[in-house]
Symmetry: C3
């Protein structure tokens, strides 16, 4: 009967065959001098916005992520006995599983709320009361809520750190941290205070900064490495893709921003192409820029990388998966280590 | 950009600023002589009704809860390798998360059933067969079911302890244990065999003892400290708020009970005011006494405490949260330790 | 009040009173010489089909299951720090809880997906992308999907072992492993290379091999012990209960198969009666052979055992529970240990 067995089942899975090796994370560690004090300042803080992090903290978190990525085992289980409250009031798998995996890899336990219809919210309970309850049941809260304001309401009543895992169209700072880690492990020299013009990069963002929380948070982080960026080009067919004051804030921080409605002519200039076609709004989503698509046939610059927060739709063809441009799988893998760096910094042992 | 960051995000969360300190739990421990034998008798027992507990067991469980509340860490993880089956066939967050948090704080693991539509029940499986299955998969079951009889059916087939986390309109003994712990840590002297008249308390219960499982279980426990109670006044606009024989049983145990349909004239006499406006019936709920409301403007006795099983609705105004009458947050916090006391007594290590 | 307490609540639960003792597992261990090398070969392999296992591996897994069943404690927690991704895209409780219990008993942690509507699949994500994600978040995946092909699609992209917990009408190899363990612990001598005619058994299977995944996988395993089987009789009122080539494949492996549409005349000849009335097809199920029913009144052979994968419906009367024919509870209990044997063999420590 053995002849009928699927060939994949006859051999062990190849655990070693990762999307990327550990060379890039090691190179990033070499580039950055460790500064434990800067991440130690994060202990017991809530995380709602990418605005909270200093340039040094951002870079040190990426260094710590690299440290985790290069370790075979996490050994000591520093979070043993600590409980994460995983509260996802909006559909999610990737982000939820990522946080839950990270927390458990560090030794902690989890209590989950995945369905608002089974919760006190169904009984009309206030967010403040829910926050009060969470104080007693866990050590950290991870919250996703389609209502932008929810996390700010809960912040008033929580006495344990609360982490924003996506609040409506506002922010998604841990995804943006993963994005930054992906960029920096690709080109560690971008963390330098002064970057030569020939090493500066051009970043194309296919998406809507005023509607997409991932893009909003990413831009705030990119402003922290503006010395390394020639230009950020927003590809959008919308005439008002920024919220009021959003572009001005970023430019004040030193970021050079341009908008364009044409992808093809711009693409050959991008060193990094970030693409996303969905904005989560309330309990549904909007599509943005469905006409912008990337595939093997796209005129991508040699050596350019593509980033996508995933899950992807038709905007990003799977025929790119086996090309040098696929850095989105490395980004997905790195998201685990970026969150590990953040979580382990937030909890005071 | 730092100027735009929410002020709450700039400082660490204040983990120390609890609703209440450890003075009251310590006072309760001082008041009661430890009697380990009485709680040891609970090992491997199922818990369905508040009727099961002797006066000594009730008091010793509250003492053990106080012991847990005064400990910074639970250290030894006595439940390592033990599995809790968390079976909530009726919407719940507070109670479920409370049990799951407690179990994990003690080192145990959890398998959960939160949605009956994903279970064997959807295939028409009998409760007896489900109980038989649970024997093999876990060490303790926590069950919430809108059908009063379900836990009794499962009791016939389980060979591991099963705990009632609310069975329809019948009982909710662990909530009542948390209520008792809240009362006793407020006034430790109430546990004395003989209480002077001037120290006795009057308790007002705004709710329906025949329809509300929390009230039913609480009254059974209050009967155990009847020497400390001048009177229990049931505030209800229903003419038949007791089940058949319920009032007689409680009076036979020594509880003095009076009913009234007026809240305002009675309120100034209450040392403890217990309020709840919802009774869970089948897959829905009934409102009771929606016209009875407590707020800062209510004529509460000086020093009186308010208890509420939460989640609350309009019956309990949040303007009371910052007053001396708010003991419901202390009660919510104590629920964790009350359940910790019970669970650690049930499992034989 | 004590007189009103349910009698079951006055005594501790009888943890010792198992369906079966440890005599049978011990006898099975005595019958089989340990061969660690054969199960070690399974390390890091995915498990999709019963076809993957050699006769030696099947028998050694049953031996290892017996070893686990005879142990009071699992002591060392070999899976500490390992994460199981429990992905059930089709309703299940038994199988899911069984895997989750086993994994935690061995010290591991779990991240769960129980509701496809809360997942990336709802966003139209490809199975390949989901598999790619899982590589980063866990160490083993358990998958149930009503689509037969899903697990094969995911196999292309996973670099961690993936275990089939039921794929549509195709296979359910771990249930069949549990079935085999139930049969072998009942009659350990069936594992012998040569079985005397008087010790050979006749097996009746009330069900549809071409539609029921449990039956399909079981038949593949039974073929591995064909020297011990006189005949397998399929009881079905369908004229085409086999898939194309299915019967031929089994017969080529040495199994003698006969079909019959009459249960009553055949029943007195069966040593083992396997019964199941439900086939999972897409998001619903088909009933098969609803007219075939077993009860205390059925003409069962003395000493014959009944097996059922559970949950059961009307096809298997609960009046058989207290008879010698009830081996389905022993089978359910053994399923935990059979999966423990498999999981601990798959993960390389």
């Amino acid at each position: 009967m053995v002849t009928k067995v699927h060939p994949k089942l006859k051999e062990p899975v190849e655990a070693e065959n990762w999307t990327d090796g550990i060379e890039q994370p090691l190179a990033l560690m070499d580039q950055i001098e460790e500064d434990i004090a800067s991440t130690a300042e994060l202990a017991n803080h809530s995380v709602v916005s990418a605005r909270q992090f200093s340039r040094v903290q951002l870079i040190q978190l990426c260094r710590l992520a690299a440290k985790f990525e290069t370790q075979q085992s996490f050994g000591q289980f520093p979070l043993t006995g600590k409980i994460l409250i995983s509260a996802f009031y909006e559909p999610s798998t990737r982000t939820r599983l990522s946080f839950e995996s990270v927390w458990q890899r560090l030794g902690g336990d989890i209590i989950s709320i995945t369905d608002p219809s089974t919760t006190g919210i169904a009984k009309g309970e206030s967010l403040k009361d829910i926050a009060e309850m969470m104080n007693h049941y866990g050590d950290v809260v991870v919250l996703r809520d389609s209502n932008e304001a929810a996390i700010y309401e809960m912040l008033e009543a929580t006495r344990i750190p609360i982490i924003n895992a996506g609040n409506g169209t506002d922010e998604h700072p841990t995804q943006a941290l993963a994005d930054m880690y992906a960029i920096l492990k690709w080109r560690p020299e971008l963390v330098m205070d002064k970057v030569n013009d020939e090493h500066k990069i051009t970043i194309g963002i296919i998406g809507n900064p005023g509607r997409m929380r991932t893009v909003r948070s990413l831009l705030l982080f990119l402003a922290q490495i503006s010395p390394a960026i020639t230009e950020v080009v927003i590809i959008s067919n919308s005439t008002d893709s920024f919220d009021e004051g959003q572009r001005e804030e970023l430019e004040a921080e030193g970021l050079t921003i341009r908008t364009s409605s044409e992808l093809e002519p711009e693409l050959p200039n991008f060193d990094v192409v970030y693409i996303n076609a969905i904005a989560w709004v309330g309990n549904s989503y909007e599509e943005h820029g469905a006409e912008y698509k990337l595939s093997k046939a796209s005129p991508l610059k040699k050596g350019a990388i593509i980033l996508h927060p995933l899950a992807r739709g038709e905007e990003l063809s799977s025929d790119l998966d086996d090309t040098e441009h696929n850095w989105y799988f490395a980004q997905a893998r790195g998201a685990v280590f970026a969150r590990m760096a953040l979580m382990s910094s937030l909890v005071r042992f």
